[in-house]
Amino acid sequence: MNTVLLAVVVVLALVLLISLLIMLSRTRLTDRLLAVQLLGTLGVAILLMLAVVMQQRAFLDTALVLVLLAVVVTAVFTHRQRGGKS
């Protein structure tokens, strides 16, 4: 079973690589933000898979932290400042 799970992880990593290439090919900031979002979700999925494959419960905590702080990062990127630009 572990071999199957690991194969899925490899495919997810491949999707990660391709979405990174798409991100690099985009010029607009919002498109890049979207790509970052997809990369983040892929990262969480890979961590969850690795947690099972490697029998490391601590990776679940890492996934939780990633999910929670992802909102903070997006919020900081998209919020406007009063009076100033962006």
Partner: protein
């Protein structure tokens, strides 16, 4: 054995949604449409992968934590999508020229 097969089925479905999110990001014509495609990958892709893994976990605590990760990811993804949509809307209306 049946559980393993179920796991594989769900994981493959999850992969399908991740790949479709990728395709959406690549091919969809405008950013709002891409946002729509991405939220599918976020919610369903991760959800299905998580459910597939649920049949492989050693004990109940793991399962609880898996579900917790997914629930939080749902909330986070909703907030993120909202923030990006508002940001994009603002840009398109021309209030903000900085990006």
């Amino acid at each position: 054995m049946i559980l393993d097969a179920l796991s594989v089925l769900l994981l493959l479905l999850g992969l399908f949604f991740f790949v479709s999110g990728l395709l959406g990001l690549w091919r969809f014509p405008d950013t709002f449409a891409r946002l729509h495609a991405l939220t599918k990958a976020d919610n369903l892709g991760l959800g299905l992968v998580m459910t597939g893994l649920l049949f492989q976990v050693p004990d109940v605590l793991w399962a609880i934590k898996f579900i917790l990760v997914w629930l939080l990811a749902l909330v986070a993804s909703a907030v993120n999508a909202h923030l990006i949509a508002v940001f994009l809307h603002r840009q398109q209306e021309g209030h903000d020229e900085s990006a």
